[in-house]
Point group: C2
Chain length 614, copies 2
């Protein structure tokens, strides 16, 4: 399109943004209007996209990191003919795909946005996978607001993109000066963004974002720049085109007072239809057939850390499936993700100490069909909580592995201990949460995660634990293992991970004291094996959960929930967990101090059994 046509298209996008927010009675028309010229040029002259085939490997990727500008995005879809006027008008209503912030309920939206500062790091993940593995010629276009440039995750992404020369990536910053509550930190100082990004090894172009010719030149510049990602830093005016709201404070996130007048001021409704350029034809590549999976096998009776078994199983998974990619937070030697790196260096992505970027990159890569495993210490995954929460909204399928679980890590102390991770992951929508207690179980569970949907979390341990299962034992998701059982059971001990072994030791001592205890290995924490728990409640009427985690949100709660959803509860349910603030000590001392070791379990059970008898 030429200058005049682009200007007209931009006005149409503004008009449609105004009227759809007006119709909905909420939304962000002014944040849409500032970026309308930028997006008109992108849609008409640069985006290559087949709306009928959103999975086309040659498609460009367009991410609205400023997800609140959804009226603009949907106006673009309308102009491209991807949606019709009827659907357009369902914006923000119950059941509509056109949500307040875009989600993959729309097939052209790869990832959900709306929590600011996420679009760029996700696009970096896409561009990394593309550069290293897919080698297609598609481009990643990210539209950011100026306010979200304050998020640290943007700078993790900027660092990655510059350092890795991601020249398929273009960041468009809509510097409209006004955030939600008033002026942004840098207001109209385009160079504030420019000099920061240049310091991070980006190519930058500073332009008037309402000059469609300048925008056109900037996009061409981005397309022709090799070896560096490009940032188009566009000075714009929020609410551009409507005097009553343009560049005014207090106009964020609300429909215009007089939409009809505004539409008139913008030149009225138009019905320009854009023929978006299709992606270059891509050869139909059949997905490589998986090779046989040769999981590591461990001898019963040995002592192996589950993190080691994870690293070995992950490596085997990499041999079987070409789609497996691994992301490290600069602790691959400790988590054992590095085992994978040694055999599959092309599919191993070092994210350095930037957990948000690590998880965001995983989200981006799964959107392109990869099966990512993002791996760091369980404790440090809390850094990426918002990205994990949003990954669920993105309907993402990815694996997250947290090592160094619990107080059992020992001397390093509480900063390194994952004792909130189960609570975090269980509360994420549609998640699966697993914690193996031995090496063969770990290998089997790693294999199982490959084909699951949603966010899968696997929790591994630093120290060695005895191998108690044979290598051919099966561990269905949502199952559990009964390790001790008799007709005389008077109590059920339920462990997960390291505490399974503490429960076993406690059961042995109790047996010597004439108290038969059932022992359950609850390796699947979400979903949890409700039938086995119910049977144990019925048989023993006394359940004790033991976990190396805080008392909230973990194993104890998973078990309590079983009986809080209608199943007959046992007479006693006692939850042993880490209730004190740990310091430095050996793993054994830590478990003793927390009251989750065999001795504490035994003492507790004796007290309980006596109480129940009396």
């Amino acid at each position: 399109m030429d200058t005049r046509e682009l200007t007209e298209l931009a006005q149409q996008l503004r008009v449609d943004s105004v009227r759809v927010a007006d119709r909905a009675g909420s939304g962000h028309p002014t944040s849409s209007m500032s970026a309308a010229d930028l997006m008109a040029v992108l849609l008409a002259n640069h985006l290559r996209y087949d709306f009928d085939h959103p999975d086309h490997p040659g498609n460009d990727r367009m991410i609205f990191s400023k997800g609140h500008a959804s009226p603009l995005l949907y106006s673009m879809y309308l102009a491209a003919g991807a949606i019709d006027e009827d659907e357009f008008l369902t914006y923000r209503t119950h059941g509509s795909r056109l949500e307040g912030h875009p989600t993959p309920r729309l097939p052209w939206v790869d990832v959900a946005t709306g929590s600011l500062g996420q679009g760029l790091p996700i696009a970096v993940g896409m561009a990394l996978a593309d550069q290293r593995l897919d080698h297609t010629s598609d481009r990643m276009w990210v539209l950011c607001g100026d306010s979200e440039m304050a998020e640290g995750s943007i700078w993790e992404a900027a660092e990655h993109a510059g350092n890795q020369h991601l020249d398929d990536l273009t960041l468009i910053i809509d510097v409209n000066r006004l955030g939600q509550r008033g002026p942004t930190r840098h207001q109209r100082d385009l160079d504030a963004y420019g000099r920061r990004l240049r310091a991070f090894d980006w190519h930058t172009v500073e332009i008037d974002g309402h000059d469609v010719d300048a925008v056109e030149r900037a996009f061409k510049d981005a397309e022709s720049t090799a070896g560096k990602p490009t940032a188009i830093i566009a000075g714009t005016r929020k609410g551009r085109g409507v005097h009553a709201v343009e560049d005014r404070e207090g106009m964020h996130g609300k429909p215009l007072k007089d939409a009809e007048e505004a539409i008139e001021e913008l030149g009225g409704r138009r019905s320009i239809r854009v023929s978006v350029a299709p992606p270059p034809a891509a050869p139909e590549e059949a997905a490589p057939r998986p090779r046989p999976l040769a999981l590591p096998r461990y001898e019963i009776g040995g002592t192996v850390p589950t993190r080691d078994a994870f690293g070995e199983a992950l490596t085997a998974l990499g041999h079987a499936y070409e789609n497996v990619v691994v992301l490290d937070g600069e602790v691959g030697d400790s988590t054992r993700a590095e085992y994978f790196a040694k055999e599959h260096p092309q599919r191993y992505f070092e994210c350095y100490i930037a957990e948000q970027q690590m998880v965001a990159a995983a989200v981006g890569m799964q959107a392109l069909g990869r099966v990512p495993y993002a791996v760091t210490f369980a404790a440090f995954l809390t850094r990426a909580h918002d990205f994990l929460r949003m990954a669920a909204v993105s309907r993402a399928s990815l694996n997250v592995v947290g090592s160094h679980a619990g107080v059992s890590i020992g001397e390093d102390g509480p900063s390194q201990m994952g004792v909130e991770d189960l609570a975090m992951f269980r509360a994420i929508h549609g998640s699966t949460v697993l914690q193996p207690c031995d090496a063969n179980q770990t290998a089997r569970l790693v294999a199982a995660t490959h084909d699951l949907e949603g966010i899968r979390y696997l929790r591994t341990m630093r120290g060695g634990t005895p191998v108690i299962y044979g290598p051919d034992e099966e561990f269905p998701i949502g199952g559990s293992k009964i390790l001790r059982q008799s007709d005389a059971d008077r109590v059920t001990l339920i462990g997960t991970g390291v505490t399974v072994h503490e429960c076993l030791a406690a059961a042995d001592t109790l047996a010597q004291q004439g108290i038969a205890a059932r022992v359950i290995d609850m390796y699947s924490l979400k979903p949890v094996d409700e039938n086995t728990l119910s049977a144990a409640a019925e048989d023993t009427d006394c359940l004790v959960t033991v976990e190396d985690h805080h008392p909230q949100g973990g194993l104890g709660d998973a078990v309590a929930e079983t009986f809080a959803d209608g199943r007959p509860a046992p007479r006693r349910l006692v939850r042993l967990a880490v209730k004190t603030m740990p310091g430095s000590a050996t793993g054994e001392e830590q478990r003793r101090a927390a009251g989750i070791d065999a001795e504490s379990i035994g003492a507790g059970v004796r007290l309980l059994v006596e109480k129940i008898i009396r």
Copy 2:
């Protein structure tokens, strides 16, 4: 100290780091050795600190952001005479104050570190409070590793510090080239850090970190630089001084193989004692006496959003207590934190969209005696999860307020909905978790939070709710309110926040249908009112929890835990919560879709009551 003395002191710090890690059998001597010259110069010639009075307002603040270099920190304490040799040798043993990573169990440690990238943002909070409120002449010295420069939180802090001209802040980057698993991204490229920080408006000095004269000059330069924070970017060698480990990969986080030989190579043990310069005498300022607290009062029967009442109560709190400070994540107009800003602009800190920095600044400010309220959308607090977790390890006392709770926010959709926040905050060690359902209750709870210990979380709502309590009603922490009660109660409905009102409406309908329902307002989610719950279980044998939150970790689990810790359980405990992925819709439609509205509650109860009768 002069060059020779400084060099000797640095060698002593190395020797002591080596021997203490050797004694412990774990720890990070090599990461300590790289920074020994830097810290020798700081301790001997620049730090002003009274180890006998760690609360002295004139004390400098020294934060080891690279907390794993604790052997170096403790060696400095030993050299300063703050700890003796006997205690020094307890490093990393059970019960010792000298943990693997420093925590405030030591009186000279203001905040815990060990999760990298946190020290600088916390120091920014201290420097902000100092610049704006305290006006003392103390300096903040932060020692960072090079690996942690990859964390986005570092760049949120860099942005803040540069933009706010925090010239009392000095960042010392120990660029020792090697991270945990190998070379860092930028290895020896000091300018990679330098040009980034300069772009963020810092003054930078690049030096050889083993040249004590250069270090001395750099510190002087930092002290004399006005209007900008200074970064001393020091090229160093990990394991410096011991050939077997110096600048070698694979030597991270482990004691030296031959400590005795290493100590000999370093010139043997020394016993230099450093007289650390005292801070300038500060006038004993009596803390200002609180003025009477005039909380807002609301008429029963009105409709007021709890976020509004929060903003008004917070403002009142600001009038009563000079120590209250408020931190905003650029959403103060929505959270109503802005009400406080209007009356107390000096104590209101705009953190822009940088939630990690917001919470870190709160941690820093509470360490200097302030009572911070960090406020943003509940959903976006997940961004700061790692900082909240570490705040508990820091024994920090601070308030966090999350607005826009639950699906009830309506059209904006899932990205903006706090539906995991209760799980996150309940799992934090020593936390208090509160959710008011009306305006007067909100005001009272805000007032109560001021004097609590630990991390206090208050959850507020976007939409208006009816005022059901009088302004003089009291709401003790750990209490609850019984809103409907009779001898004929056959079921207990337990709500929190908006669902209290849904429970009340359901109870009214059920009453018309001949089913008497008790209704409890569970405004305190941690601690929870176990006695009232037990009584309800005994009286009605059937409890239904209703929450605008995911089913894991929130109200339902808090109630289930009560009966999982030994109290006789009710025959039925049913948990209604948000189990589906919401889209856009009105608040009412959202609650209906999630099955947490009055109608769903009523239908569920009728089913339950029939089941129990039959």
